[in-house]
């Protein structure tokens, strides 16, 4: 089936089965590989993208149900929150293996757009769908606080 989807602001045509998860369309058809596969069943968050600004697990979203909603992947993440989060991530040396981090960063950006100064509870709520097998959680938390502070300034 041909689909026309909007990813990172550009309209892209793909011809795939209707049940194809957005994740594989992004990765295999569009070649945007920053979004990762970790579980395929909406458990790990490695595939997190923004759909109309909301964090969504792209592995559990069939392309046929996307409609004309806007998709943003890590490659297209931009704006003050995105910059603050990525700068905080690098400054804290958050990543270890790094494989989960696109998803972590996308969830953190969405959180900071929603809540300007998240407390630990808000961070727990927003981030507990993102597994990090390297357990970089201490630094993820600290970096989100750092980013919030930087945005305030």
């Amino acid at each position: 089936m041909p689909y026309s989807i909007t990813v990172n602001g550009a309209v892209r045509e793909v011809d795939v089965d209707p049940d194809t998860p957005l994740l594989w369309v992004i990765r295999d058809n569009l070649g945007l590989t920053g979004t990762k596969f970790g579980c395929g069943v909406a458990q790990c968050g490695a595939c997190t993208v923004h759909v109309d600004g909301q964090p969504r697990r792209s592995c559990a979203l069939p392309v046929s149900r996307l409609g004309n909603r806007q998709v943003t992947t890590i490659e297209g993440a931009d704006g003050p929150e995105a910059k603050a989060v990525q700068a905080a991530w690098a400054a804290r040396d958050v990543p270890q293996c790094g494989y989960c981090q696109s998803g972590q960063v996308m969830s953190a950006i969405a959180l900071l757009r929603e809540v300007k100064k998240p407390d630990d509870k808000a961070i727990d709520l927003a981030m507990n769908g993102n597994i990090c097998r390297c357990a970089t959680y201490v630094r993820i938390r600290a970096a989100i606080h750092d980013a919030a502070k930087a945005l305030e300034a």
Partner: protein, 717 residues
């Protein structure tokens, strides 16, 4: 700063004129790997490449899978070279055991046993110092001055009397034509500017791993590439009997279906058609030799063995007599099969033209992977190149003695024929149900306490051996696999009479080392049991341990962690209890104190873990800290939740819904102190893990929850 993860850039760069490529000879003597490196601009035996653009690229023989060797190895070079960190990059070395052997493994290139920094400390400092000397000589010759009158700082060579200065790039080509100095003087550690300095260098891979540009194996793509998933047997020891691919081949995008020795491969244009095709495949398995026991039956069988005398690993004194005196204390600890579940499931990419193969993946033991690919494809190992890519975690899973991933990858390429690049991807289900687990272990412990002192200690260990029958079998002596009892066969404590014996249990379930190997279970058994004996003897967990200990480094970290946490007994105070544990693994010493309460759900809630480590010289203190944080989180998550139970031989969990991973709200606060040391550096990828579970269990005992005798602590029955 940055890194380059593929060998392509390396090849391109090597052909660039004006590069200084330094090959390091290995003047370290007999037992170590013999290299035949030579200096020269196109010599592939290289550890450092200095570009005309002033960049310093460090060629890393150890895989970057999160544990930080890109940064650590580059720090060693940059220190002796007096490089500007902003110009430093790292990339993976090609597979070449002659040059890039891990000295701990013999003539094998590979990463494991937390050995990356330890086995590179001298080697890369020598490489850095030699490169510095060559640059200085080249500059001195050009300027017509004595080399001794030059200084180097932050990538700038300076001649103070004349005010002349230059960056490295200017003399890279000239330096590359000079002979490698036979002898160099290393810096006095007191003058280190990078090594051991906190936050002087930032990780080379942080930026790319924060913006999605870091490339992993799963991101490989090429024109005409096919994505391959494999249907493998549902239980261990089963073999393919027959299959029917008709329905699978009807799926749009499925290109071929081929039998491999591991199962049936489905080739498709992309992952989704491959998965759909695999879903439609009908495969029949011969299960006549398969494991059909469930883990409960296996636990009972292992427990039965634990009640009998095993092969003695170490003993002194008359244990049986000692156990007959005083108060007998008994414990049994049962450890489940555990999957490593690295965040990036196993995967590999390969191109093969019938004569040569190029594999790109997170190869952790390059030499074995290279030999295996060569064998499957019927070509010479030299005809197989391996580009080691960033790996999305490993925790031991990619260090395969049987090279099963490389083998499956090569078979997939062979079955479809030359000229077709393939990318093999395991799903999470393939990963968690696919074996190569931390083995199921049972520990039976008996000890006696007489007059407030420990009079005897007996520990019988039962589990499978992944060393026996593997390429690492030479590690075994007298039928004993040392990885089964490491940490238990010699303990810190004076316990009177002592015995540790083991039984090797048999099962077709595949097993493998898992972050911290034997210490995953021995650390728990020993540190819980000593705590239990001390409690019986009425001793404080910290003071009691110290009183029984002769090892000054173990005592050092124990004292340091007690001070850091303000230890004042185990409590509980205000509903919070504290537990302690200290473990030496891979020659590093780690002590932890956990503060735990009983959560509203009745489950243990871990608030904070204090940790003291002695890793000798801590090359990058912040990387050490990160590995400790990660090791604690990994250890705690598995201790709390993780188990791969078998039902009639079939794994009953398949994905993160039931193979529960620690999540952010379950991560305790962590505070780390690194004990100052001038000992040679040792590793930290694994040693942060073993003390966590017993420290938490020992706190749980003080909360009246008991030290869990069966892991995980939270079992879904």
């Amino acid at each position: 700063m940055g890194y380059e993860s593929t060998g392509l850039s390396r090849r391109e760069a090597l052909s660039t004129a004006g590069a200084l490529v330094i090959g390091l000879s290995l003047p370290f003597g007999g037992a170590r790997a013999q290299g035949a490196p030579q200096a020269g601009p196109v010599d592939p035996n290289a550890f450092i490449r200095i570009g005309a653009d002033d960049s310093v690229t460090v060629i890393c023989k150890h895989i970057e899978m999160g544990q930080g060797p890109y940064t650590g190895l580059a720090t060693l070079v940059a220190e002796e070279l007096d490089a500007d960190w902003a110009q430093v990059r790292a990339e993976s070395a090609p597979a070449d055991a002659k040059i890039y052997a891990n000295f701990n493994f013999g003539v094998i290139q590979g990463t494991g046993g937390s050995s990356a920094m330890a086995n590179s400390y001298d080697q890369l400092r020598h490489a850095g110092a030699a490169a510095r000397a060559m640059l200085v000589l080249a500059a001195a010759q050009s300027w017509g001055v004595q080399p001794a009158t030059l200084s180097v700082e932050k990538g700038v060579i300076r001649h103070a009397p004349s005010g002349r200065e230059a960056r490295f790039g200017q003399f890279a080509a000239a330096a590359g034509r000079l002979p490698v100095p036979p002898k160099v003087t290393l810096k006095d550690p007191a003058s280190f500017r990078l090594i051991g300095q906190d936050r002087k260098v930032s990780r080379l891979d942080s930026v790319a791993k924060s913006n999605g540009s870091a490339r992993f194996t799963i991101d490989m793509a090429a024109p005409g590439m096919l994505t391959v998933v494999v249907a493998r047997p549902p239980c261990f020891g089963a073999k393919l009997a027959s299959f029917d691919a008709a329905e699978a081949l009807k799926v749009k995008g499925v290109v071929a279906v081929k039998p491999l020795s591991s199962g049936v491969a489905v080739y498709a244009d992309g992952m989704w058609p491959a998965l759909k095709g695999r879903g439609k495949l009908v495969a029949r398995w011969d299960e006549s030799a398969a494991e059909r026991r469930g883990s409960e039956e296996m636990v009972e069988a292992w427990r039965g063995l634990a009640g009998t005398a095993g092969t003695v690993v170490n003993s002194h004194g008359d244990v049986d007599a000692a156990l007959g005196q005083g108060d007998l204390v008994e414990a049994e600890y049962i450890f489940p099969y555990l999957a490593h579940a690295p965040m990036e499931p196993l995967d590999g990419y390969i191109e093969w033209d019938g004569k040569r193969a190029n594999a790109r993946f997170g190869s952790q033991i390059q030499t074995l992977d290279q030999a295996t690919i060569a064998k499957v494809l019927g070509i010479a190992p030299q005809a197989v190149s391996i580009e080691t890519l960033l790996a999305g975690g490993s925790f031991g899973r990619r260090a395969q003695g049987n090279a099963h991933l490389a083998s499956e990858l090569a078979e997939a390429a062979k079955a479809i024929g030359p000229g077709r690049p393939v990318k093999l991807v395991w799903t999470r289900e393939d990963d968690i149900m696919g074996g190569h687990y931390r083995p199921l272990f049972v520990h039976r412990l008996r000890g006696s306490v007489k007059d407030g002192a420990i009079a005897g200690w007996s520990n019988t260990i039962v589990g499978q051996s992944f060393i026996k029958g593997s390429p690492f079998e030479a590690m075994m002596k007298d039928g004993i696999d040392p990885t089964m009892s490491e940490g238990a066969s010699e303990i810190f404590y004076r316990t009177g009479a002592f015995r540790c014996d083991v039984h090797i249990a048999q099962s077709p379930v595949t097993t493998l080392w898992w972050r911290s190997v034997g210490h995953t279970h021995t650390g728990y058994a020993v540190e819980c049991f000593i705590d239990q004996l001390l409690e019986k003897a009425g001793q404080d967990p910290v003071a009691g341990r110290l009183a029984l200990m002769d090892n000054s480094r173990a005592a050092g970290v124990l004292k340091a962690v007690a001070e850091l946490a303000g230890w004042n007994g185990p409590g509980p105070v205000n509903g919070r209890a504290r537990g302690v544990a200290v473990v030496e693994s891979f020659r590093s010493f780690v002590a932890q104190i956990a503060e735990v309460s009983k959560g509203a759900d009745g489950l243990p809630k871990v608030h904070k873990i204090w940790c003291a480590v002695d890793v000798g010289v801590a090359i990058n203190p912040d990387v050490v800290r990160a590995q400790v944080e990660g090791g604690i989180g990994f250890g705690l998550g598995h201790a709390l939740f993780a188990e791969v139970p078998l039902e009639a031989g079939i794994p009953a969990v398949a994905n993160f819904d039931k193979y529960r991973s620690l999540r952010i709200h379950e991560m305790p606060e962590v505070e780390v102190v690194i004990v100052k040391s001038s000992e040679a550096p040792t590793g930290i990828g694994e040693p942060g893990l073993p003390p966590t579970a017993p420290a938490v269990a020992n706190a749980m005992a003080r909360l009246g929850l008991g030290r869990p005798s069966r892991l995980p602590f939270v079992r879904v029955a």
